[in-house]
């Protein structure tokens, strides 16, 4: 970025530098031109006066066009005829010929002019003249020649000045444009890059702040802000899913632990108590036999209870297919809860393991809910295939509930995970779940696998 900026900036600066140098050199060359013009012109006049006699009154100013290349060019271009002023003064400084103004300027300047070399002086109006003095008339006269800088710039000089000025302006213009580019594109782009690279994705969004840049960059930043918001919501979804998963896991562990504590652990404790009682020295044979019988009964109950726990955790009949598994499940549940369950599964359904498991868990949960929350007496479980796919339907005659308040998400917030668990089961199996319930009209759970 730095080198790119440098390489963009360098040419206009080079151009401006070049233009400035050019300007200085132009000025110098014009000055030198003016000096050499004035010097040769003055010298020429002085010689001419000497050659024609020293009577200044008879001095004729000769045509000088042919004596100097630059002046020749000057005349050739027809610009302003003869530039320059001429005056002749005697040794007392009395003007004899030519421009009195020049004589006055020369005398009043008080400058010391070495013979034949020109200098720049200013008149009272601040106008600049290049002036040269040359002795003549055997030392009795001085020829003073001058050009006014105001009159000097003809086309050539103007052209000489114009070029660097144009160049300089072009350079300046492009430098300003580049500055603008820097301010509106490069700086915002760098800021944006910094902002993007230092942003904690999924944690924060770019700060609300004025962003002075071209509209494309502004849009880019808006998009970036939107993406950052999106990332946050994604992270929060993932997080809530994770915490749900961990929560479910913990809840399951707690439940299993409690089941073991309240079931087998108590049974075995009771068993130990009976063994203690059977061993009491005060027992007669009948007492001991009674206690041992009781102990055996308890042990049998324990085995049954533990088997039930295993079945609940991982039902072995799932391998037998959905029909068998649901038959087994609903028979157990109807005995366990004292409800009537009517099961009807279409024949010849071939379902994948994951769909079987999903349907099984949904029925397990739905029946438990119907009994526990709906106090249902009759439950109808149907699984059938139609044009839409395979549909599971669990309908009860319980007292239903009001779906309006937030749906399954709302229930989940309140800690009732049952419905959303079923929903997730169905989604994992590639299907969906629909729950229809009204207070007093029972509940219908429909799972569809397309």
């Amino acid at each position: 970025m730095f080198f790119l900026a440098l390489s963009i900036f360098l040419p206009p600066f080079g151009i401006m530098l070049l233009a400035a140098t050019d300007l200085v050199y132009s000025q110098m060359s014009v000055k030198n031109l003016a000096r050499s013009y004035v010097e040769s012109f003055t010298e020429y006049i002085a010689h001419t006066i000497d050659m024609r006699g020293s009577d200044p009154t008879r001095i004729e100013i000769p045509p000088y066009e042919n004596y100097n290349l630059s002046l020749g060019l000057y005349t050739y271009l027809g610009l302003g005829g003869r530039p320059g002023l001429l005056s002749v003064i005697d040794r007392d400084g009395v003007p004899i010929y030519g421009s009195e103004g020049l004589s006055r300027l020369f005398l009043s300047s008080g400058e010391n002019f070495p013979m034949g070399s020109a200098k720049e002086i200013y008149d009272e109006n601040g106008e600049m003249f290049t002036v040269a003095v040359y002795p003549s008339g055997h030392g009795d006269l001085s020829v003073i020649g001058a050009v006014s800088w105001r009159d000097l710039p003809g086309f050539t000089t103007r052209a000489l000045y114009l070029w660097p000025i144009l160049m300089g302006s072009a350079g300046l213009w492009s430098a300003l444009s580049i500055w603008n580019l820097w301010q509106k594109v490069i700086v915002p782009l760098r800021n944006l890059e910094h902002e993007i690279s230092s942003l904690e994705w999924g944690e924060e969004v770019p700060a609300e702040r004025p962003f002075d840049a071209i509209s494309e960059l502004q849009k880019l930043r808006l998009t970036f802000t939107r993406v950052a918001h999106e990332a946050i919501s994604r992270v929060s979804i993932i997080r809530s899913c994770m915490s749900d998963m961990v929560g479910v896991q913990e809840a399951e562990r707690t439940k299993i632990s409690r089941d073991i504590h309240d079931g087998p652990l108590q049974d075995v404790t009771a068993l130990i108590q009976r063994i203690h009682l059977a061993r009491l020295p005060s027992n007669d044979a009948d007492d001991t036999k009674r206690e041992l019988d009781l102990a055996e009964n308890i042990a049998q109950a324990t085995v049954k209870e533990m088997r039930g726990l295993c079945d609940f955790l991982n039902p072995p009949w799932l391998e037998l297919g959905l029909d068998q598994a649901l038959t087994e499940l609903t028979e157990r549940q109807s005995v366990q809860y004292g409800v009537r369950i009517f099961l009807d599964v279409d024949e010849g359904l071939e379902l994948s393991e994951s769909v079987t498991l999903a349907f099984f868990r949904v029925v397990q949960e739905a029946v438990t809910n119907s009994v526990r929350h709906g106090e249902a007496k009759n439950i109808w479980v149907d699984v059938k295939r139609d044009e839409n796919g395979i549909e599971l339907c669990v309908q009860d005659d319980g007292h239903g509930f009001d779906m309006a308040e937030g749906g399954t998400a709302g229930l989940r917030v309140e800690g009732h995970r049952g419905l959303s668990n079923m929903e997730e089961r169905m989604m994992l199996a590639g299907g969906r779940l629909k729950i229809i319930s009204y207070p007093g009209e029972g509940t219908c759970i429909r799972g569809l696998i397309p």
Binding site: H261, D262, L265, Q266, D267, V268, T269, A270, I272, Q273, R274, H276, L277, L280, S282, E291, I298, A301
Partner: protein, 212 residues
């Protein structure tokens, strides 16, 4: 002299077993039998038994809550906790709530009877793995702990962290750790809770001091 008792345990089989234990002792008079916390609490208030045998975990009110309520209302009932396993934290919180001891449900009928007699007399009975380790030498007394160690133990028993104990006694945290290590050694404890239970058992500290 008979002792009036109530028994509260939500599991029917263990409750039946405990009832059979109690029936073997002539002097125990079971005046109430409850399967949940609420009815047990009502039983405690109405029957005012000398000793209430309370399961720590019960539906409704748990045993620790009932114990706390007994203490709050100043009822003349001694709470003896029943647990199905040796969960020292439960035990400790029930002792803080005012229980006079605890017995494992799987212990023998003699142990239960002894515990009931001890607490009925106003004693403290601590049964557990911890208690079992000192069962053999009932009269064995531990190496005496210093006054400073006793102070550290009491503060630790009240639930203060090492840092807080250090700040309160104007000693360094490292010194607190050293004291605790020495206490564990002398009492034969493996952790803080155990050291407190053992200290109670040996009479190194009084239950009342813990409850202050």
């Amino acid at each position: 002299m008979s002792i009036n008792l109530i028994l509260a345990d939500d599991h029917p089989l263990t409750r039946a077993g405990l009832m059979a234990y109690l029936a073997k002792e002539q002097e125990f008079n079971v005046v109430g039998e409850f399967a949940d916390g609420e009815s047990a609490w009502n039983g405690v208030r109405e029957l005012k038994p000398q000793v209430a045998l309370l399961d720590i975990r019960m539906p409704g009110l748990d045993g620790v809550t009932i114990t706390r309520k007994i203490k709050e209302e100043g009822l003349p009932v001694v709470a003896l906790m029943l647990t199905s396993y040796d969960a020292q934290q439960y035990v400790l919180s029930s002792l803080r709530a005012g229980a006079r001891g605890y017995v494992l449900k799987s212990s023998t009928a003699e142990t239960l009877s002894r515990a009931i007699r001890i607490v009925a007399r106003g004693g403290l009975y601590l049964d557990s793995e911890v208690a079992n380790t000192v069962e053999e030498g009932e009269n064995m007394s531990p190496e005496p702990i210093s006054a400073r160690e006793r102070e550290v133990l009491l503060l630790a028993a009240k639930g203060l962290s090492g840092k807080e104990i250090a700040a309160q006694l104007y000693i360094s945290e490292r010194t607190v750790q050293t004291h605790l290590a020495s206490i564990y050694d002398k009492l034969g404890a493996r952790n803080k809770t155990e050291s407190m239970l053992l200290a109670l058992k040996y009479g190194v500290v009084m239950l009342e001091e813990l409850l202050e």
